[in-house]
């Protein structure tokens, strides 16, 4: 799946949309076979989350650890390797495995997880009326149907999940259940009750695999998966933006989502004050920001004063993160970081810089950058920049599409470059990425210097 163009109905404009596309790819790898291989599913998700794109744009960055120590690398026989990042494990464990509560606004409508199961089940390749599956609350329905295709894995998995959950679900679910009945998955003459709350893994566990080969092309399923990822991710994103380690803070009730939304506003202005040397001390920068943001309100993030904040475990963790992140050039200062941490998919406006680029045709704006700095680009980097950055060509080929590394002319350029020619494709891609990153950093620094 390629993200450089609109993919499968997704409006790919945030890191979460991209994650939804990639998770869909993982589901294609894992739900087209029966029975579901849980190890395989988890490894595929971990490998996906550990891709550079997500390490940079989605996962929490623990500044106490260097990048390498957070990674486990597995060499594969084809000469490539797959890495699994520590924070990907946290994300899988805390975010993807979470059972979301029913949204208060929902009345008789089941939650997104329940609807996702219904949408997946519709694509079962086991035959026998799965295409007409329905998921709904119904006070009058009872469990029924002994069809083996319905019982295994779906009805049995759901029964086990209901037993595990017991009545340990939210008040909103309990109220809706009283008012509108339990949630049922209905297939023809068969009906099975769904647990009031389900995790993504529980949905996949109950899915009647194998699914049809083209199941991932269903736009309704795509949109639902994107909504599920969005709701699962919300707390994690806010913790990351605030500087609180999700491994430690994700499963706690406090700070609440509402308070995190307030607390996350502290970091950017405080880091700006430090960067511009208006303040030289982290505590002072955060104090000033806290007081300005709080204004005349009674509290900010649940704290009546900066001193109350700074002496609380939450405040201490945020300030500690603030100190550590200052040593890292990538921390803060990037409007892109904030864009990547947005909280909803649907409401996001196109990024401002994209609008700038759209005014130029795809090749022309990269040509202008190249022409302005001919000495910065050797032939390899000029070709890489034009193809990958300018035209969105993928580095590696897949699904019958050629990538830049498959291009004969580009390979000739690489072979003529002694520092690159002996690298394996994975190493070469890394090296090209890093060289492009260095050029862009230099360009930004120069532009910024010229303006001041």
């Amino acid at each position: 799946m390629r993200l450089s163009k609109p993919v499968r109905g997704f409006q790919v404009n945030s890191i979460l949309d991209r994650l939804a596309v990639d998770v869909l790819g993982v589901l294609e790898l894992c739900l087209s076979e029966a029975p579901l291989d849980h190890d395989r599913l988890q490894l595929a998700l971990l490998a996906t989350l550990s891709r550079r794109r997500y390490v940079v744009n989605l996962l929490y960055r623990d500044f106490r650890r260097d990048g390498e120590s957070a990674i486990q690398r597995y060499d594969l026989p084809d000469g490539t390797s797959i890495q699994i990042h520590d924070q990907a494990i946290v994300y899988l464990d805390k975010v993807l495995a979470r059972r979301p509560k029913l949204a208060r606004r929902l009345r008789e409508t089941p939650g997104n997880m329940h609807l996702l199961l219904g949408l997946l089940a519709r694509h079962s390749a086991r035959g026998g009326g799965w295409a007409d599956v329905e998921v709904r609350r119904d006070p009058d329905l009872g469990a029924r149907g002994e069809d083996p295709d319905f019982l295994e894995p779906l009805a049995r998995a759901l029964a086990a999940q209901r037993q595990r959950l017991g009545d340990d679900y939210g008040e909103d679910s309990a109220r809706r259940r009283r008012e509108h009945g339990p949630i049922w998955l209905v297939r023809g003459a068969c009906a099975a009750e769904l647990p009031e709350e389900m995790s993504l893994f529980e949905v996949l566990e109950a899915t009647p695999v194998p699914l049809q080969a083209d199941f991932a092309d269903d736009p309704e399923l795509q949109r639902m998966l994107a909504r599920v990822m969005d709701s699962l991710n919300e707390r994690y994103m806010l913790l990351r933006a605030s500087g609180l380690d999700p491994d430690e803070w994700h499963d706690r009730d406090e700070p609440s989502i509402a308070r995190l939304r307030e607390l996350k506003q502290l970091r950017r202005p405080a880091e700006d004050l430090l960067r511009l040397q208006i303040e030289t001390d982290v505590d002072a920068a955060y104090r000033r920001t806290f007081d300005e943001l709080k204004g005349t309100a009674a509290s900010l993030g649940g704290f009546a004063s900066f001193d109350a904040f700074a002496t609380s475990p939450v405040g201490q963790a945020i300030l500690r993160h603030g100190v550590l992140s200052l040593d890292e050039p990538v921390a803060g200062g990037d409007e892109d970081d904030e864009r990547a941490r947005h909280e909803t998919i649907a409401s996001e406006a196109p990024p401002v810089d994209a609008a700038v680029a759209e005014r130029h045709d795809a090749g022309a704006w990269t040509r202008r950058l190249l022409a302005a700095h001919p000495g910065w680009f050797d032939p390899v980097m000029a070709a890489f920049f034009t193809a990958v950055i300018g035209h969105g060509r993928p580095i590696h080929g897949a699904d019958g599409e050629a990538g830049l590394l498959d291009d004969l002319a580009f390979r000739r350029l690489v072979r003529a470059e002694p520092s690159l020619r002996d690298l394996a494709p994975g190493e070469l891609a890394e090296e090209l990425y890093e060289r492009a990153e260095a050029i862009i950093r230099r360009g930004l620094a120069e532009a910024s210097l010229s303006r001041t």
């Binding site: 486990q72 084809d78 892109d336 202008r368 990958v388 897949a398 019958g400 002996d422 360009g443 532009a447």
Partner: protein
């Protein structure tokens, strides 16, 4: 659009856009079924009550289990340290290569000089390639490492096959356009130390 000199006000948003796009670039090779299979073999099954981290750590120190399939493993070519010397070529009938799509050969192929036979089949999202040296050349190629290249790029093989003592060998590869292109008119050669 003119290629006039960029002012800092013009350059900055373009550099920012370049950075935004770079961050979206997939650096890693795609997670194909074959790569996921290999990872799973490498890590091994998770114990019934094994913690996720312990499982991954254990897998990291484990040796990879042999592939379940009948095909040999892929050996990467190292251009600086190895040399590829073409020895034999295959010509596929025009019917095989007609049309824009890079079709895999449907039937068994024999090299133009009759020294090699090759069979290609697709399994899931992979291509299994079987190679056999024939007749008197068996002794010449037994136990040798051979490569398969495209005639357009004869110095770098896209696949390598370790031949056994009967000069037979097979390899399982990702189904890429590069491989399919090489299989249009494959060149077989010996891989030797540079």
């Amino acid at each position: 659009m003119t290629d006039d000199k960029l002012t800092p006000d013009e350059a900055e948003p373009l550099w920012r856009e370049a950075r935004r796009r770079l961050r979206d670039v997939e650096v890693e090779p795609p997670l194909t079924r074959a790569r996921l299979d290999a990872l799973q073999r490498r890590i091994g099954p998770r114990g019934p009550s094994e913690d996720l981290r312990s499982w991954l750590r254990r897998g990291r120190h484990a040796r990879e289990a042999p592939p379940a399939a009948d095909a040999g493993v892929i050996v990467p070519f190292q251009p600086g340290r190895q040399r590829f010397r073409p020895v034999s070529r295959f010509t596929r009938l025009a019917a095989d290569t007609a049309g824009g799509r890079l079709e895999l050969p449907e039937r068994e192929l024999e090299s133009d000089d009759g020294r090699f036979r090759m069979r290609v089949r697709r399994e899931a999202d992979q291509v299994v390639l079987e190679l056999q040296a024939l007749g008197f050349t068996t002794d010449q190629f037994a136990g040798r490492l051979v490569g398969l290249a495209s005639p357009d790029e004869e110095d770098v093989p896209v696949a390598m096959v370790a031949l056994d003592e009967d000069a037979d060998g097979s390899v399982r590869l990702a189904d890429t356009p590069e491989l399919r292109r090489a299989l249009l008119r494959p060149v077989i050669g010996l891989v030797e130390e540079a």
